[in-house]
Every structure is written in C-alpha cells, then in structure tokens.
Amino acid sequence: MTITTYDSVTTIKNLIQNKWSTIRPPRVSAIWEKRTTGFIDDRRDELILYPKNESIEYWGLSGSAHFHTQLIELEIKTYQDIKRHNEVVKKVVKIIKDNITGTGYTDLRVVSSFSRNYLYRNMYNYVLVLSIRTGDP
C-alpha cells in the first residue's frame, strides 16, 4: 500500500494545464512550486494546488485492498476583473467535470466550493475542494 497525495496533485496539474484552447491559460502550480518573489506588475492568473487530507479505507477482505480518498484544495487567483475571473473558474470546473473518470484514478469530483473575494481589493479568489479517489495506488 502506498499513498496518492503527490501523484494526485501531478495528475490534476497535468489535466488542467493542457486544456486551455480558447482563453489565456493561467499558471498552474503545486503549493511547493509557488513563487514567492514578486515582480512588478506580475499579475498573471494563478491556480495553486494544496494537497490536504488523505483518508484510507479497507476495501477487500482482511485489508487486502485499500481505497484512498484524497482531498485537494484548488485556489484560483485572478487579477483582472470579475468577467475574467468568472471565465477562469467556469473553465476549471468544466475541465474537472469532463474528467470525472480517467487513467490513474477512479473518480475526480468537485465536492465543495467557496469564494474568498469578500475582503480583497485587487484580487479575485475562489476555492474548489476536489476529491480524487483511487483504489490501491
């Protein structure tokens, strides 16, 4: 039995990165790749993936198989205006919904979502909580 935490971040990252044909793609990064040095006017939209809890359940008889549920926080930060923000959030959700099943995982779902716009002035911030489930990673 192994874990799925880091693999699932890579899976989701690859999935999201490659599907932006009609609109300008944002930068997608895992939290450990996030750039911390700011440049002047660096206002590119950013998607940040934070792996959170992984719950492991016994699946087969006598624990011969395991089912893993990994929760991932996907933070969407955009800077331009609400129109662009809405566009990016919708696109991300669409990509995820289109890939509810795929190679390397059993299912991928949006299990919760909330907005963190409320107190920001120059930034739009939306959070999707994703659940990615895998049998015996």
Binding site: T36, G38, N53, E73, S112, S115, Y118, V129
Partner: protein, 279 residues
Amino acid sequence: MNEFANRLKVIGKRLKQVLKLESAQEQVEDARQFNVVGSVKLNGRVVRVETPEEREDVAKEEGEVTAYFSFPPNVSNVVIPSDLPKRTKSMILSIIQDNDIGKDMDDDVIRNAMTGRIFQGSYGKALPKDDSYDEGWYPAGGKSGKKVNIEAIKFWVEHTKLAGMSDDDIEEEYYQMRETEEFQQFASVDKKIENLLTTMKSKRRNPETTKKLLVDSVAYMVARKLWYAGRKPSSMNDHEWNEHTKYMRPHEGSFGGGDVWKNLPFKYDENYIYRSGEY
C-alpha cells in the same frame, strides 16, 4: 386511552429530536478530529448536548437542529452537498476553517518574548521542529503573569509569519485585514497607527509602509490573543483547549496599552471560541 396515545406521541417526538441532536453532535465530534470547531444549534441557539442526559434534557424543546460551523470572515458562498459522508464533510470543513497551529508562535518564540528577548532561531524560513508546539501557554501570561515583548513578536511576524510573501501577497493581506472590524479597533488603540493609516490613504501605495503597518498590526493582535486566550499545546485540539481555559481569560482591557473596546464588543470573553492561527 386517549391520554396514553397523546403521551406516546410526545415520547415519539422527543425521541426523534434526541436522534437529530445525536446526529448533529456526531458530525461536530467527527469534525473535531480534524481540529474543526463547531457546535450544535437548536432554533439558532447553541446547545450543549455532549452526553445522553444533556440530549434528553434539550430534546424537550421542539425546533430545528443544525450542526453549526463558523467560517472565517473572508469566506462566502460556501457549498457543501448535504449527501456527502460525515468524514468527507469534516475534511472539507477543516480546509475551510484552516485552524493551523503552524500559523501561531512556537514555544521558543513565546518563551523568549516572555523574558523580553528576541528569538532569532527561526529566522527566515526555518521549519518548526516536531516539538515546537509542546507547551501550553495559559491566558494572562500563565504562572508568571508576564506580558510578551512586542518587539520580539514583531520580529517573529516579519521574519517567520510573513517570510516568503511577495510584495503583492503582503499588499493583499494588508487590504484584507484593513476591512476587518478588529483592525479598526486596533487603529483606535494607537494614535500613531491612525496617522499612518491616513497617510496611506492619501498617498500612493508603497510596499514598505504597507509591510510596516501589517507587521505592527499583526504583532499587536497576535500578542493580544496570547494574553487573553493563550496558545494551545499540540497535544490538545482547539475544542479541548477552549473548554480547558475559557474561564481563565483575564478581564477586558487588562492587556493594557490603551486596549479599549469602544466600538466593538470585547472579543475575548468566555464566549470566545479558541481557534489556532486566527487572532
């Protein structure tokens, strides 16, 4: 016979209410395992239903039972489907509340700040050790009754808490904070801050002043929370620490230095619910 039937009806209703309370309490307790703070509400009022006896007692009142979880002030439009398993719900709530002890000061910082020294060991992005949060720091300075050195806290805020933030991040953090009621309260405490704020509003944005203001205000609030509510040890969850210390909290204004709650009700009384990483 009629009376018997009526009594049976009442018992049935009450039993139903007990089951509802039990289910809400189970959700709250499951969430506690992920360090989520929540409570059971009956008709919008928080009720204590930890034991079967308490549940029986509370069930005498009819009304809507809910498991209530507070969200940080910047979070809105939360969607959590109701048909998710309890465990998944708890995990989602932990992401939303994000009660992370790693955002609080570690033992070395507090110990040194209590004796007036600036702790430079965690300078930069040093990772905390696994015993960094072993001790419990009680409200009102614990046994010693001492207040922390604010300069030491400022050093920690600047070099550890805000370390690794870009100018943009700092600016967003500052603007986010400026909108909160706590910040307005803080500004009313210190004349210098009020003046600085007015200058900030009238001039163009300046990363240096923004950072200074943010460091000052965060340090003040962090020190104030430590005084009124303490800091839990890593062996306890937020709920346990809250229950353990809620009646030890010192009275309003005891933090000193013009800590007056004029426009806001005093936050850190026994009804305050302790949460890690929040101030």
